[in-house]
């Protein structure tokens, strides 16, 4: 079975808009939270967001948006984008450069693109409001492709002239982890030589506020305290947006192009809770099964795993479920294996989370560090016995697991391996 490697990364995240900045902030545990201006009103109970810097997308008209001058994007492409499309387009350009891909390597029948975003509630709202106000025939002809779930793959596949596989994944906060898993299958089954993985979210009021109704958002007004996965005082997650792109390639392509890969993807697993539409299984049964499947597929024993990048979003129930799943899978190794949730720094990227945090794991494996779990003062008593890192480690483990879980009890686990320097 062909081996699968990660050869390029691109980031537009709350903790940095390039790999070097993101790596530094992960090592030094510097968060990307701010008091988000649209939330600073009495009727909005949550206040903090993992904001995207250097970009402004708070207009419904893409021609009003601003973004770093190093990205040149024509109106023809911008007009059909949601904010998450803009973030992803920029992250794509970074990833292509990072992987040293020529134009012909991007656009050919053996190169595909899998994407995940929640669409753009912001633009959906705008276009529907316009439809009702000014009439059905005066709506933007590109309103649909800019706003529905799938906007990310529509735009990127067209803009980068992708000719291989393409589709969007929709399993909420497990979406982009699913995208990575299915891309692994396409590559290891010889269907494709290269697949771009794109996770992205708007991360604005329309994308985040609906979670307030579920009472899953942190109401903490201090950006230094709002997101604290595994901490006893956690009170919900902090929303964020942005984008991460990973380039996955087969071993043959890596050899043919003569590039040095960043890390290897050994395998993946998935399983469902079969329990509740929105609440994770109290014992993390689905998550545990997903990890077991992933380890078996990757031919890795729990004892070989050095670090788990947890899904833990800083919600009351979810973090405990995942801790129980880790204990169930790792047994006596549970106290040894390092665990952290980088959502303490970025906030929860929803559909983006799996790809963004996979990007973080790959950065750590390449650059030789393990990100710690920021903002952890007192470990949640029900998570006792886990080795939750309070600081980053200056070394990278051999094997890393990345967990992701989404609504409906969808769970994905991905297994990454460090490559010899």
């Amino acid at each position: 079975m062909p081996r699968v490697f990660i050869t390029g990364l691109g980031f537009v995240t709350s903790i940095g808009n390039d790999a070097a900045t993101v790596a530094r902030n992960l090592r030094e545990l510097r968060h990307g939270f701010e008091l988000y201006p649209p939330f600073q009103k009495p009727d909005v109970p949550c206040k903090v967001v993992g904001t995207i810097k250097e970009f402004t997308t708070d207009s419904t008209d893409p021609e009003d948006w601003t973004f770093p001058a190093r990205y040149k994007i024509k109106r023809e492409l911008l007009r059909s984008m949601a904010p998450n499309g803009l973030f992803a387009h920029c992250a794509m350009l970074q990833a292509i450069e990072d992987a040293r891909l020529a134009e012909a390597d991007v656009s050919n029948p053996d190169t595909g693109l899998y994407a995940a975003s929640g669409g753009s509630p912001y633009l959906t709202h705008h276009h529907h409001e316009r439809l009702l106000k000014v009439g059905v025939m005066r709506c933007s002809p590109l309103g649909i492709v800019a706003s529905i779930v799938g906007t990310l793959n529509f735009n990127l596949v067209a803009a980068f002239k992708i000719q291989g596989v393409s589709c969007g994944f929709s399993s909420a906060c497990a979406s982009s982890a699913h995208a990575i898993g299915y891309a692994f299958d396409d590559l290891s089954l010889g269907r494709q030589k290269r697949v771009f993985i794109v996770g992205a979210e708007d991360g604005n009021a329309d994308a985040i506020l609906p979670f307030a109704g579920m009472r899953t958002l942190s109401l903490q007004a201090d950006p230094n305290l709002a997101s604290r996965p595994f901490d006893a005082a956690r009170d919900g997650f902090v929303g964020t947006g942005g984008s991460t792109v990973l380039v996955l390639e087969t071993e043959d392509e890596v050899v043919r192009r003569g590039v040095k890969p960043l890390a290897e993807l050994l395998g993946w697993g998935q399983a469902s809770d079969g329990y509740n539409v929105a609440i994770s299984h109290p014992d993390g049964e689905g998550s545990a099964r997903a990890m077991r499947h992933a380890l078996r597929a990757a031919r890795i024993e729990p004892a070989q795993v050095g670090y788990i990048n947890a899904h833990a979003t800083s919600t009351i129930i979810g973090d405990i479920s995942e801790a129980r799943a880790i204990r169930a899978v790792f047994k006596e190794d549970a106290a040894r294996v390092a665990v952290s949730s980088t959502k303490a720094l970025t906030g929860h990227g929803l559909s983006l989370a799996g790809a963004m945090e996979s990007g973080f794991c790959v950065l750590g494996l390449r650059e030789g560090f393990t990100p710690g779990n920021a903002h952890l003062t007192r470990l949640e008593p029900q998570c006792e016995g886990l080795n939750v890192l309070r600081a980053s480690l200056p070394t990278a483990p051999e094997i890393v697991i990345k967990n992701s879980s989404g609504f409906g009890g969808a769970n994905v686990a991905l297994v990454y391996k460090r490559l010899a320097a």
Binding site: R75, L132, V134, G135, M137, R138, P141, L142
Partner: protein, 327 residues
């Protein structure tokens, strides 16, 4: 939610041709809608909305088109004639066309149907179309683009004496291009060791474009078609040649009908090479005759591709214009 849907239904009704009184809030909305257009576009739109004077419409339409054209292509629009093509020359795709239409509808307070849009291929088409809508006139026939195969199939004049490589014909004008290859037989002697396109041949080329207009752009009496074998040159006036044209030059020819009443058709014509004036003809006159539509062997609408309907080559009909000009 019928309440919420109600206003939308109301606005889709055909709008009156006379503008509503123009309120200050309308001006603010107009300014917002045209915020990415030139100030002159906004001024023209204000004038139109206040007065209903259709003279301001072309400036609004061109200003809106300009706003949707990539900046590096906008110069084309600045000194363009009406024959500038939306797709080929300005890179406007069908979705951008919809964006243009929606903004024009919004700014001029009018409604445009999808099927009315399909025939708009040039800047001139768009201007004429909007102008007719505003004035409540019947819509013009769309511009037809004729490749060399079509020109050869309908024209009584044939190679080596046909001086049109491509042409477009609407009800108000015809435009064509001819590239001087250097292989034209008469260049061997005109002049000795110095091939120059004869001015008489350039006038012939304009005459041929006028013939093409009569066959493809002129609206004949009901039940009739223009008889291709009965078009003859009668005269020309005010002819001036401004530029020596040599092999490699691309002649851009255009004619506009002045009067067309059987049997006489008069045109004004001009030839450019790039932006340089080459030939002006104040008036070219042809005479023509009708034939009954059913008996006419030459297809008028669309290209006849299959051998069964392609007219016999008309070379033997000895181009009448050639005879006249060479005389």
């Amino acid at each position: 939610m019928p309440d919420a849907v109600q206003p939308a239904a109301g606005t889709t009704k055909t709008l009156p041709t006379t503008p509503k009184p123009f309120a200050p809030e309308d001006e603010a909305a107009l300014r917002e809608a045209l915020k990415r257009c030139s100030p002159s576009t906004f001024e023209a739109a204000i004038q139109f909305r206040k007065t209903g004077n259709a003279e301001h419409v072309p400036a609004v339409v061109i200003g809106v088109i300009e706003r949707f054209v990539e900046p590096d292509l906008r110069t084309k629009l600045k000194d363009a004639d009406d024959d500038l093509r939306l797709i080929e020359d300005l890179g406007i795709d069908s979705l951008t066309m919809m964006e243009i239409v929606i903004l024009v509808e919004d700014v001029l307070q009018m409604s445009i149907n999808n099927d009315e849009l399909r025939n708009l291929r040039t800047v001139g088409d768009v201007k004429t179309f909007i102008d007719c809508k505003i004035r409540g006139l019947p819509l013009p026939r769309p511009t037809k683009f004729l490749p060399i195969e079509h020109i050869g199939a309908v024209m009584p004049i044939q190679p080596p004496f046909l001086f049109l490589n491509e042409a477009s014909v609407s009800s108000t004008a015809a435009n064509g291009k001819y590239k001087i290859t250097g292989q034209e037989f008469f260049l061997q002697g005109h002049f000795k060791d110095n091939p120059v396109m004869p001015a008489s041949i350039m006038l012939e080329a304009l005459g041929q474009l006028a013939v093409l207009y009569l066959l493809e752009g002129h609206t004949p009496e009901p039940g009739k078609v223009v008889n291709a074998a009965q078009i003859f040159f009668t005269g020309c006036e005010g002819v001036r040649a401004h530029r020596v044209c040599k092999p490699g030059d691309i002649l851009t020819l255009s004619i506009k009908p002045k009067r067309n009443k059987m049997p006489l058709a008069t045109f004004e014509g001009s030839i450019r090479v790039g932006q340089e004036k080459a030939v002006i003809a104040e008036e070219i006159s042809l005479i023509f005759a009708y034939a009954d539509a059913v008996n006419q062997p030459i297809p008028i609408n669309g290209v006849a591709h299959d051998a069964g309907t392609t007219p016999a080559p008309a070379a033997e009909s000895a181009g009448p214009i050639r005879a006249a000009i060479n005389a």
